[in-house]
């Protein structure tokens, strides 16, 4: 009996470990994308254009850029991977910061559910543009 439960928990923890590796890979890929691309994107669209520091690209210019499949792939990656980066980092922030162990599974589901939802939305929007 004890042997059976040991084997089961051993298997469970092994598959958990490989899942963690997968999520960590998404985290780190998203971390790279976020580090390289978000500062310039946020600086231009969030600060420089609204404050008039730089001439804002016209609607036509943006839609012309969006016609290219490369731009859409770029935007899909820009939205999706950083969300998985967020999901990983934020769930550990909540685990460690708040120490609410009984809520850990709910936190996990909310974080990755959110990342997945954002990814689906990005795909939908970019597909229908």
């Amino acid at each position: 009996m004890s042997m059976v439960s040991t084997t089961l928990s051993g298997k469970a923890s092994a598959s958990k470990a490989s899942n963690e590796a997968f999520f960590w890979l998404l985290f780190s890929a998203g971390g790279v994308v976020a580090a390289v691309l978000i500062p310039i994107q946020l600086f231009l669209f969030g600060l420089a254009f609204p404050l008039g520091w730089l001439p804002e690209p016209s609607y036509d210019h943006l839609t012309a850029l969006l016609h290219s499949p490369l731009t859409r792939i770029y935007l899909f990656i820009l939205c999706s991977l950083p969300l998985f980066h967020w999901a990983h980092r934020f769930r550990f922030t909540l685990y460690d910061g708040l120490q609410v162990k009984h809520l850990n599974e709910a936190i996990f589901t909310l974080c990755y559910g959110g990342a997945l939802l954002g990814t689906v939305l990005a795909a939908y929007l970019l597909w229908n543009l």
Binding site: S5, T6, T7, S9, G10, S13, G30, G31, V32, A34, A35, V36, L37, I38, P39, I40, Q41, L42, F43, L44, F45, G46, L47, F49, P50, L51, L54, P55, E56, P57, Y59, H61, L62, T63, A64, L65, L66, L75, L78, C79, P82, L83, H85, W86, R89, F90, F92, T93, D96, G97, L98, Q99, G114, G118, L121, A122, L125, L126, N128, L129
Partner: protein, 149 residues
């Protein structure tokens, strides 16, 4: 392998399920443990950069939606971005994102120490290519958006 399983059983998440596990004495740590020291605060601030990353993605999704709804919708979107509250939020988010970028790039030499001729290459030299790539990519994105077609 069995040893590994036994060790696994000893870890926290298994503890609840094992019958004869000793109860550990643990002092309750305050929720605000990270406020006392700059080192801990820096760690938590770095962890919180993920919120700015998520904020940016949500903003981008709204932007794409506005773009797909036509010129008038996009104008409404850009007008909203120019409001003081959005400028403030984006300024805060930008600072956090920069913090993420710098800490992320500077982590590379620690995660992957490079050796050359038996000597360890200085950390700033290992991190340098990250910054070069970052500047080149940023310049390219800015050029794509700013050039007049």
């Amino acid at each position: 392998m069995t040893d590994q399983m036994l060790i696994n059983q000893g870890t926290t998440d298994q503890a609840a399920r094992s019958e004869f596990h000793p109860r550990w004495y643990r002092e309750r740590v305050s929720t605000w443990w990270w406020l006392g020291e700059w080192h801990y605060l820096k760690f938590i601030l770095r962890e919180l950069t993920s919120l700015s990353v998520a904020w940016f993605v949500v903003l981008t999704l709204f932007q794409l939606r506005a773009l797909s709804h036509g010129l008038a919708a996009y104008m409404r979107f850009t007008n909203r971005l120019a409001s003081p509250i959005m400028i403030t939020l984006n300024l805060i988010a930008f600072c956090f994102v920069m913090f993420h970028t710098i800490t992320w790039f500077n982590l590379a030499p620690r995660a992957m120490p490079v050796r050359m001729g038996g000597k360890r290459v200085p950390e700033f030299l290992v991190a340098a290519p990250n910054y070069v790539l970052w500047i080149v990519v940023s310049a390219f994105v800015a050029w794509l958006l700013l050039r007049t077609p």
